[in-house]
């Protein structure tokens, strides 16, 4: 891992980002007032159930938000510069994205070499042969034999394909990679290899990664910090170990307790289950979004929305200033 000092430098800063869905004249907030920082060389995990807005945050950073969604407020700063919400060309070079399904993100009719060369030459002014050399180096870096540069995507296995996708993402030498569920479609052993590869890239190149996943195990294995999202809002953020070991927010507690652990003793016990399910966008409660499912809710949770206390958790139980408990 990187030095702690490097990790203090913010690379990406999201301030009060709100992504709104417009549907039949009504407005719903898919991401609600979210603030995050990603430091240099760190892996930040975004975790939550499906529909929590994890991927939406990734799309917002990449400028991929499309109708009927739009960014209604908020600012994104990248390397201390504010980036225009609609400037796509800039982002491909500095920020790249890895998607869940490697079969869908590669063009099946073109060799991986030609896809790599195209990506490299879009972002870096190089001749064809120079770009080809570079493509070979990239393949080597992600652990693929450079001799296979003229192979087609279908000749690779799922894990190998995901490596090709990572090589593509690395091609413009980005300082930030957004990996949206990069290992969900893969086997455990291949998943471990891909996660190791991502960690290694962070270490060697100082690249930052935002890792979007719903798997707490992957979060534990890979990330430095983790942000837990619920209904498009930040529920908790902090160092991965702190958050998983001593979760503050009742939702995080529930997620950790619901995750099966590998040990033989757990067989006879039932898993913890969070009652109910995440609210639809059109019925998010006025106060804390988690209030209806929360076992520790107090009266003010219903009407008032908690701020982020101690830069850690958005839960009224951790509001030290206001009331003695």
């Amino acid at each position: 891992m990187m030095d702690d000092k490097d990790m203090q430098t913010p690379l990406l800063q999201i301030n009060q980002l709100t992504v709104t869905l417009k549907k039949r004249q009504a407005l719903f907030k898919a991401v609600d007032n979210l603030s995050l920082t990603v430091n240099k060389g760190e892996i930040l995990g975004l975790v939550g159930e499906s529909g929590a807005g994890k991927s939406m945050v990734g799309s917002a950073i990449m400028g991929l938000i499309d109708k009927p969604l739009f960014i209604s407020s908020g600012e994104i700063y990248f390397k201390q510069r504010r980036i225009d919400i609609n400037a796509q060309p800039f982002r491909g070079a500095e920020i790249s994205m890895i998607f869940q399904d490697p079969l869908v993100s590669l063009n099946p009719l073109r060799t991986i070499g030609s896809q790599l060369v195209e990506t490299i030459r879009t972002h870096i002014p190089l001749s064809k042969s120079e770009a080809l050399e570079r493509a070979k180096r990239l393949l080597e870096e992600v652990g693929i034999d450079p001799a296979r540069i003229n192979a087609y995507p279908h000749t690779f296995s799922g894990g190998m394909r995901q490596r090709v996708v990572i090589a593509l993402a690395l091609a413009p030498e980005p300082s930030l990679i957004i990996a949206d569920e990069p290992t969900t479609a893969l086997d455990v052993s291949v998943q471990a290899q891909i996660l190791d590869l991502l960690k290694q890239l962070c270490k060697d190149r100082g690249t930052s990664i935002i890792l979007i996943t719903h798997d707490m195990g992957v979060i534990a294995d890979t990330t430095n910090r983790v942000a837990v999202l619920y209904s498009g809002r930040l529920a908790e953020i902090g160092k991965t170990y702190d958050v998983l070991k001593n979760p503050c927010h009742p939702y995080t507690k529930g997620l950790v307790a619901a995750t099966p652990q590998i040990n033989g003793a757990s067989l006879k016990n039932k898993l913890f289950q969070i009652p109910g399910s995440m609210p639809d966008l059109n019925s998010i409660p006025a106060g804390c979004a988690f209030y209806p499912r929360c076992s520790q809710a107090v009266s003010r949770c219903e009407g008032e929305r908690p701020a982020l206390f101690d830069n850690r958790t958005a839960c009224w139980l951790f509001d030290k200033g206001a009331k003695p408990k």
């Binding site: 455990v188 998943q191 992957v218 040990n263 033989g264 067989l267």
Partner: protein
């Protein structure tokens, strides 16, 4: 006597080109052995888990157990009866089929989008002629829905109106409809979120305790398996490389492949302790 006994189970797939093309091009036959000499047994009321990577033959074994695929060699006995026994007449085959049901991986693909939930649950009941009377059939559907934690008015809805976890509950209710004894769960939670996964796994455990069900549980997730299974079999390239009681196998894996799987599986238990 074990409830399920699979002995020297083998399944081969012929991937050769057609005969004429083979003759012209001078190619050889190409046979893939998906499952090779696998033997295991499951006691009544317990859960046996098969773990392995994609292509290891887990689902092929599941299909053979459900009587959907015929083994190339070997035999499966479920409560002393074999699907592929030539002496088994159609009526008995049907009875056996009724006792083995399956829950599939994707609840999005395994429910017919044009059928109402009530019709989906009625299908197995009608197929096996379990209940003659229309009113009691209707009652049974409501009973099934309540058994999996859903409400009676859900029977009028279509699958798309439900979330993934609810759909998987419906799949489980459908499997329960004809009073099975063995349920084959083929990756039942891999398409679900953790919190929903916990609900579905707990439901499966409760149903097992209430109805003395036997499960064959297929998954690639060792954490899920360690919470569900009494016994684990590890499959690699169609062969059973290791088998044992869950606690023994996890604490003291013998085969290199099992060790590799355990090392590769992300586990928050080890991380926070």
């Amino acid at each position: 006597m074990s409830y399920v006994t699979a002995s020297r189970l083998t399944r081969r797939y012929d991937l050769s080109d057609p005969w004429f093309i083979r003759m012209i091009a001078g190619r050889k036959t190409n046979v893939l052995t998906a499952v090779n000499q696998v033997s295991f047994s499951i006691e009544k009321g317990t859960t046996y888990a098969l773990v392995g990577e994609s292509g290891s033959g887990k689902s092929t074994i599941a299909k053979m157990l459900a009587g959907v695929l015929t083994p190339s060699q070997g035999s499966i006995e479920i409560d002393g009866q074999d699907f592929n026994n030539p002496g088994l007449n159609n009526a008995n085959k049907k009875l056996l089929r009724q006792r083995v049901q399956m829950v599939f991986q994707s609840p999005y693909a395994s429910l017919n989008p044009r059928w109402k939930i009530g019709d989906i649950l009625l299908e197995p009941i009608n197929a096996f002629n379990l209940i003659e009377d229309k009113a009691s059939r209707h009652k049974r559907v409501i009973e099934l829905l309540e058994q999996v934690g859903m409400s009676a008015h859900d029977q009028m809805k279509y699958p798309h109106e439900f979330s993934g976890g609810q759909r998987q509950r419906i799949s489980i209710a459908r499997a329960l409809a004809c009073h099975p004894e063995l349920i084959i769960c083929d990756e039942p939670t891999s398409a679900l979120d953790v919190s929903v996964q916990a609900q579905v796994l707990n439901l499966l455990k409760d149903l097992q305790n209430e109805n003395t069900l036997t499960y064959l549980f297929i998954s690639h997730d060792l954490a899920v398996i360690s919470n569900m299974a009494d016994k684990i079999g590890v499959l690699k390239d169609g062969e059973l490389v290791e088998e044992g009681k869950t606690s023994d196998l996890l604490a003291n894996p013998q085969h290199a492949y099992t060790k590799m799987l355990l090392a590769a599986a992300p586990d928050i238990g080890a991380y926070i302790s």
